[in-house]
Symmetry: C2
Subunit: 275 residues, 2 copies
Amino acid sequence: MSYDALVEKIKEKKSFLCVGLDSDITKIPEFLYHYEFPVFEFNRRIIDATVKFSVAYKPNLAFYESLGNKGWIELEKTVDYIRKNYPDVFIIADAKRGDIGNTSQLYAKAFFEQMDFDAVTVAPYMGEDSVSPFLSYENKWVILLALTSNKGADDFQYTKENEEYLFEKVLRISQKWAAKEKMMYVVGATRAEMLTKIREIVPDNFLLVPGVGAQGGSLAEVAKFGLNSNCGLLVNNSRAIIFADKTENFDSVAAQNAKEMQQEMELLLAQYGIL
Amino acid sequence: MSYDALVEKIKEKKSFLCVGLDSDITKIPEFLYHYEFPVFEFNRRIIDATVKFSVAYKPNLAFYESLGNKGWIELEKTVDYIRKNYPDVFIIADAKRGDIGNTSQLYAKAFFEQMDFDAVTVAPYMGEDSVSPFLSYENKWVILLALTSNKGADDFQYTKENEEYLFEKVLRISQKWAAKEKMMYVVGATRAEMLTKIREIVPDNFLLVPGVGAQGGSLAEVAKFGLNSNCGLLVNNSRAIIFADKTENFDSVAAQNAKEMQQEMELLLAQYGIL
């Protein structure tokens, strides 16, 4: 999906919500276990119920890989289903990959050719040649880890060289690798106080923001410091939407929770003059 | 596999060779395409031919994921084959994973329960809680990226804080997370000049060293600066062994090349008093 199409879709749906498909098989409603592909069944119903309120979906690879090759099929079926039924939805492989060039090239092939994801999350530690193979596809994106939402972010991401933190260096250096049309950054909502500084370095890029809700981040804060004139945010929510209910009505409850987030986002988009 | 068992196996085989199963389907001999699982057939023959000379195998996940769910089956079959036929071989998932705690937990499940790998490579950027879930399994290992062999290593790994490079900080901080029995480090052979400094920080840990051969690193240099009293090295070679020949004799040629590396390693182990 192109940058312009993503911005247009955000304005159309009045939402910058990304639904995280962290579809843990031990947490989905039990009645789905009767299906051959229960995780896909779960995802399909979540997607159908929430797609009016959400511009993006983000399967987290670990939840699929932990099921072996069958999990990989559940993932492939999920991506195919979105692509066929909702072609203008942005699909993110939350895979945190990154390796030497010829290896990253094959990861890119896995996520952009074998499956039709729009974007993949990439870890920056191995530098430019571990990231650039993902950038050679038209209208496909890298979402580079910058400042993550977990406690361990403090261990290395705040390493300070010449008054610059490592996550700031990652943002600054990677700006040379790609334009805003191909590069987003992960910035945890639990680090909203850093968003002003981050926006000075990457004013135009989209930020993918996990950690609102379950991890304690505030949507209003993220919007206040993170929005730019094209929105520039995708805020991810997973557990509070997909696991809010465990009955046969789980999808209606998910839709209701997604709708509430969308409505809060609509107010914020209006408040900051984006709609 | 335990630390002691690994050291014993190195002494028994007089080898610290790890064969990288970067089994690119476009590079394996064509006659294997007739098999239902050509990559597994390739791996099986490479393993049978080289296991006398090699203590470890390291499938690189990208090469399997790029084939979709079938690639995942090729991988599972490969790991099962090694485990059943050569139970005392060390198997490394070169996956470069790492995510927030509950997600890393599921990656650990994928590689240590769903498949029976001994170790998984992990990227350090997200810090302790992204690594620790892999450390909760007995006799299973984390191999943490420290200083990689690629050009992009210069982008962030040499970030300098208080006279300490980021890769040195990764080594130092992560020493608190696990003992040498569960933690190895990736150090590229192309960075052999840094091994003396690295050995000051992590004298006892195993180092997994890629980049000998195709990427230009020297085995003698790596041994000189990297060996410790328990060997402490696993040197990976992939292309120069597995893709040395494309005829029906590819496995014999692979065996010959592995044997030559083993013989060089035997000399080095003797020279440095480890055998």
